[in-house]
């Protein structure tokens, strides 16, 4: 039995003084993680506060994209800082984000998509958008569905393998860390393979898998990462946009035939999928505008 993704809502980590209570209320924040020993004071102010040991948590990278100039082609190559690969590697950890301005909502969506326990330290100006994101996540919920992946990785725990996982996640090569060879995966990555060049190895895995077999593909952005969960009749596609600007017209291909689809897009409550097609092989649709995060729920009937 495959483990299902947990419905865990991330929480704002707040180490401000009680004077900031109005700021939180105005933003719409009710639930807090606070440094140990301060939870009672916040509860007295009417907040749902829990103690969170920041130092004891695993540190998550601030999610974002950086553009590096590719001198040879005079184009800007996006470098995505994302945590999905770590979450997949160690889902049981509690994670702490120290999110700079503009990163808190994406951090919340990222942790939610992977079903990990996370606390997010946000700057005051990000509180309203973080609150809106948390409300959005609570509203869409998390169906108890197992992770779907093409690639099973028997992780040796090494830094090099960590970089392979990072690069596979970066290129939407869906993987899951597994304890032993499992025939349900199209490709198995075993310890002892030559991963001295992690990028080349990740691309080699892509070629072993082949693009037509990939459970999900996206077209129209190179800064959107995908997470997929599902069972025989239902599939949920999580789309995380690290680019900092909305993506217009993101095309998604999901293997399998799905007759119905529902889009839930943060910041675009009335958006509908466009150009929907489905045949025996795959289902395709366009997300007209992807802000920070969206999920698409697909069903076979």
């Amino acid at each position: 039995m495959l483990a299902t993704v947990a419905f865990l809502l991330p929480t704002l980590f707040w180490d401000g003084s009680a004077d900031s209570a109005d700021l939180l209320r105005k933003a719409g924040i009710q639930k807090l993680d606070v440094p140990p020993g301060r939870e009672e004071a916040w509860r007295k102010l009417g907040f749902d506060a829990s103690a969170f040991d920041r130092a004891g948590a695993a540190q998550a990278t601030a999610p974002r994209v950086e553009y590096h100039m590719d001198v040879a082609s005079a184009t800007r190559v996006p470098w995505v800082d994302a945590n999905g690969w770590q979450f997949e590697r160690r889902p049981q950890n509690a994670y702490f984000y120290d999110a700079p301005a503009g990163a808190a909502a994406l951090a919340a969506a990222e942790a939610f998509a992977y079903g990990v326990h996370a606390a997010i330290h946000a700057v005051p100006e990000d509180l309203p958008v973080l609150a809106r994101m948390l409300n959005f996540l609570e509203r869409i919920g998390q169906p108890a569905l197992p992770v779907r992946a093409n690639i099973g990785v028997i992780d040796d725990g090494s830094d090099a393998m960590g970089e392979v996982l990072n690069l596979m996640a970066r290129h939407n090569l869906l993987f899951q860390v597994i304890p032993a060879v499992d025939p349900r995966y199209d490709v198995i990555v075993r310890p002892g393979e030559d991963i001295s060049d992690p990028y080349q190895f990740a691309m080699q895995v892509r070629r072993r898998l082949t693009d037509p077999k990939r459970l999900v593909r996206i077209y129209g952005s190179n800064v959107v990462l995908v997470r997929l969960t599902g069972d025989g009749s239902r599939t949920r596609v999580h789309l995380l946009n690290y680019g900092g600007a909305a993506v217009q017209g993101l095309r998604v291909r999901v293997r399998g035939s799905f007759q119905h689809a529902t889009l839930s897009a943060f910041a675009h409550p009335k958006a509908d999928l466009q150009d929907y097609t489905s045949d025996d092989e795959a289902t395709e649709f366009t997300v007209p505008e992807l802000d920070t995060y969206a999920v698409i729920d697909l069903t076979t009937r």
């Binding site: 691309m203 996206i218 217009q248």
Partner: protein, 379 residues
């Protein structure tokens, strides 16, 4: 919802490509072409006049001191060129061979070098004037290009009648909403994530005819950029992925894109605007010293034949400027993009002017210079 797919797999080389053309230097990618549009009985490329080019020169078509075209001279060049190509008794009769009043016409301009070089408003306005004389209403005429900021710098609106659409696919670079998700070429060049290049929706969804208006330009990757590159890379998304490092796949990608239906069938006329030209650094104009004035318009329906002539025009100019030939594949000239901008003997990529011959083998036109009939006119 199922859709019809016309799949074209080019695993090694397309049918008809001689081994010598595809071998050694060029490892051809595998292309998967998806389109629901069938070819016309007689596709627009190479069209009604394969292997024929009318080349009209006019010394007074542009004032090189002020860089200002002379609209009256341009009009005469177009009129004589069109009549010569078609044998029409007058220019209206000539244009009526390509469009009818019920057509919706896309005019594919080239603005990648704007504002220093682009499909001249004078040439575009003359095309529009002729379309309207045939009876095409203004709201059925669409000037189109991919990038908004490039077109903004040209101000076509100042030269055109009201009601003409001036349209771009990407108001913001990278947005894909204006491209057709069901018409695309899929391939992997350099392990890129996004492996599709989609056709602009209007090409299949609205236009019934397309007129292609490229410039006479050198190109750092393709060798030259003329009819084929303008209609191909200018009508599809996500094409810059074909270059990486010093390698470019323009050799096979340009022709492959240009041959996709309905682009191939609906592109019925080529008007190469050579009032100005760029002999180095194209498709952009980094430095005005690389601009020159061929003072020429080439007209035809065969993009390969026109581009074949373009190679010689650019290469002769480069030779006169002591610049390395567009055919030179030597590694010693590879020096990165900054050097390429500043030095006519520095290449950014191994150039691929062979893309024109490759396109000929896809059936897009006549490449053999001995088989191209050139009619030269002087205005």
């Amino acid at each position: 919802m199922h859709r019809r797919k016309f799949l074209q797999m080019a695993a090694a080389a397309p049918a008809g490509v001689p081994l010598g053309l595809a071998a050694t230097d060029h490892k051809l990618p595998e292309y998967r072409v998806v389109s629901r549009y069938p070819a016309a009985e007689k596709p627009g490329m190479p069209g009604a006049y394969p292997g024929q080019v009318v080349s009209v020169h006019a010394e007074k078509c542009i004032d090189t001191a002020s860089d200002a075209p002379d609209a009256a001279v341009v009009s005469e060049m177009m009129s004589r060129g069109m009549r010569s190509l078609t044998g029409g008794k007058d220019h209206r009769d000539a244009w009526a061979q390509f469009v009818t009043p019920s057509d919706v016409v896309g005019i594919k301009v080239n603005c990648s070098g704007a504002p220093g070089i682009m499909s001249s408003p004078a040439v575009v306005a003359e095309i529009v004037r002729n379309l309207m004389e045939v009876g095409v209403p203004p709201d059925a005429i669409w000037i189109y290009e991919r990038f908004q900021e490039q077109v903004d710098s040209v101000h076509y609106d100042r030269h055109l009648p009201r009601g003409i659409h001036i349209w771009t696919a990407e108001h913001r670079r990278g947005s894909t909403e204006s491209y057709d998700p069901a018409t695309y070429v899929e391939t992997t060049f350099f392990d890129e994530d996004d492996t599709r290049s989609n056709l602009i929706r209007l090409v299949g969804g609205r236009f019934t005819k397309i007129i292609n208006v490229p410039n006479m330009k050198d190109h750092g990757a393709a060798g030259v950029t003329g009819c084929l590159k303008n209609i191909a890379y200018g009508s599809f998304s996500n094409v810059a992925r074909s270059h990486s490092g010093t390698v470019t796949n323009t050799y096979s990608f340009i022709g492959t894109l240009a041959a996709v239906e309905p682009l191939r069938s609906r592109t019925v006329l080529q008007v190469m605007d050579g009032l100005r030209g760029v002999w180095h650094g194209g498709p952009f104009l980094f430095n005005r010293r690389y601009r020159f004035y061929p003072k020429r318009i080439m007209i035809g329906t065969d993009p390969v034949a026109i581009d074949r002539l373009l190679i010689d025009i650019i290469d002769e100019k480069r030779k006169a400027e002591n610049a390395v030939s567009v055919w030179d594949r030597s590694e010693k000239y590879l020096a990165g993009s900054d050097a390429h901008r500043n030095n006519p003997n520095a290449n950014e990529f191994v150039r691929e002017p062979g893309h024109i011959e490759y396109a000929a083998h896809l059936g897009l036109g006549v490449y053999d210079i001995d088989k191209i009939k050139v009619t030269r006119l002087e205005v």
